[in-house]
Symmetry: C2
Subunit: 191 residues, 2 copies
Amino acid sequence: MQLLKDRILKDGKVRSGNVLKVDSFLNHQMDIELFEEIGKEFKRRFADQTISKILTIEASGIGIACIAARYFHVPVVFAKKNQTKNIAGDVYTGQVESFTHGRVYDIIVAKEFLRPEDRVLIIDDFLANGAALLGLTKLVRDAKATLIGAGIVIEKGFKDGGKLIRESGVRVESLAIIESMSEEEGIVFKD
Amino acid sequence: MQLLKDRILKDGKVRSGNVLKVDSFLNHQMDIELFEEIGKEFKRRFADQTISKILTIEASGIGIACIAARYFHVPVVFAKKNQTKNIAGDVYTGQVESFTHGRVYDIIVAKEFLRPEDRVLIIDDFLANGAALLGLTKLVRDAKATLIGAGIVIEKGFKDGGKLIRESGVRVESLAIIESMSEEEGIVFKD
């Protein structure tokens, strides 16, 4: 998606430790007009599929998923990272190791919001080692719902996650795949 | 907002400890068509104001804020609840005591995304004791930005937060104000 790649080149900042800062438009401050173009592109790529629900994970996936959902006309469910007393025991659970936070956390979705008849599109902002996406696919599997695929905004193509998850049979559509990046050489996209 | 009140009566569940579960449409599963009506209503109520940015807090404020932002044509910034290594030191900080989680946590916004020239509308899903809203207003004040007001989806009118914050001079627009609720008597709205 050229608009997105241009924006990453313009406003993204590469930091040491393979960190790509896109917090001016994607995951801290959020450019809603860009999100609308991202949502349209996800819809275009999954236009051949019947989707009943979008699944994402808090926090930075939520905004993109909600805007994308406008084009699919489906509700969004977000996996929560910590059990709260507002959620009863009837939940699907998984574990995710966070690259950003350097720790393992639990994710949960209430069983009533992920049903066997659901046809689920997962949407998230980043795919790197695939931990979050694997955690989300486990929730879909546990619910015996149908996983249609995953729509990712930025994939770190030099990490293992995308390969791992595609080889497991999941359709992954990433709007910008980074082949390499460094503070010295900048960002190079795949293709 | 009658559509919202009807939905709360239909799908909201009152639990002990003054907990109102609206997770089937508001803060776990999210009904995006309802969010669009909520966004339009916030725009209608603040139509007389120039807004440059919407500020919310992760996680459940983000979806509503993003959809509302479509009607204001402004970016959204969400306050993060935990410092991550993706955020440099240059942040505004506050503390929030969570009713839901029963603990105190830090909230942060990068200084570059909240500027003195910003005219900020805060949007959040709930207002009860006002802790999150007070935390967010502090961030706006620390940034020397102009606080235009707060748009709240559900206010627990029997809690002190709304009164406290309105008396401090902040304009608060709540789309549904609950006067009382109990498992036995159900939900009664103000007006």
